[in-house]
Symmetry: C2
Subunit: 201 residues, 2 copies
């Protein structure tokens, strides 16, 4: 038995892949039960019957455990961090392009739509999505956008509403011409609205 | 056996309420199978084993059959028609207030969220929602907004995206402060965006 894992009676022999999988299963269970905010690496490790250090070793942080457990191909917060760098004048355009670009990728869209669907079908799904989006994504936008002066969280959420609504009508409802429009046409239409929400005018 | 209904063997004795219910059951089946556009009053009547005239007698139109079958407390297109009357300058504000007002009503919100959920869970649900929204709602907005000059359908859909995204973040994801904001605060934030999408600027 290797270090960092306590094997219970009757548990099959496990290697790294098994332990990683056990962590992901435990993480899905914990996030679904407790939401994103209240789930902890410690509790996930306990349920997976591994040492918390092993969770950090495999994934690095709770956010990254969540991303892996939800089978997202990348952490949207990492893309967001890149978009948040640079001129505030172009921030809205970078955010809009980043957001539409992520959703254009079916590897991201499919699991992300699953997450949104779970918000429609259960209270726990809604809590999980709300806390992840609020903590890992919107809080960072509000902070970055506020460099030039405080930005009302309601305005950040109105901007998010424009982006979320467009991708739902584009990829779920599939209204035409929206479903077939180019990302760049949508950036031209939507980025000024995101800018307006963040900075008024 | 009363006029307007052909009773099959083994079918229980029916009165007006039974026939109305049979029409609604048939309608749900037809809309789910064929979508909104391809379902017809004639086919619904055939499945319900009643005369098409009886469907018109009870409901008036396919749109109203749909509204009743989906258990919406009113036809959103009727609210829309009221909002579309009047000055084009205030059109966006009236549309935004009408839209948020409908969604504030749990009698509307609950079945409407069911419809949106079905778009997430099945291809047929998406088709049904897309065709109803496109035909009964957005087409009318585009037509009314175009009085002052043609309005690009993509712009109408971007405006719809702003409204849809806000109600999803407000009522499904329940982000704060959006979930607790007053309708009027949201009208102030969102109506100028709807106006901008419809009329540029």
């Amino acid at each position: 038995m290797s270090a960092g894992v306590r094997r219970g009676p009757g548990r099959p022999a496990d290697d790294g892949a098994d332990r990683r999988q056990a962590i992901l299963d435990a993480a899905r269970e914990q996030f679904a039960e407790k939401g994103y905010a209240a789930a902890s690496v410690r509790a996930i490790a306990r349920v997976a019957d591994v040492d918390p250090a092993l969770v950090h070793h495999y994934f690095g942080s709770k956010e990254k455990v969540f991303v892996a457990a939800m089978e997202l191909p990348f952490d949207p917060a990492d893309r967001l961090s890149v978009a948040l760098e640079g001129d505030l004048d172009d921030l809205a355009e970078r955010l809009t392009r980043m957001f539409l670009g992520m959703w254009a990728d079916p590897m991201f869209r499919t699991p992300m739509l699953g997450l949104v669907r779970s918000a429609f079908t259960s209270e726990q799904g809604a809590t999980m999505l709300r806390e992840f989006v609020g903590e890992a994504l919107l809080g960072r936008v509000a902070q970055a956008a506020s460099t030039a002066g405080p930005v009302d969280p309601l305005r950040v959420q109105a901007a998010a509403g424009q982006l979320v609504g467009v991708v739902i009508l584009r990829y779920v409802v599939r209204l035409e011409p929206l479903a077939s429009a180019s990302d760049e046409d949508l950036v031209a239409l939507v980025a000024p609205v995101v800018h307006r929400h963040l900075y008024g005018g």
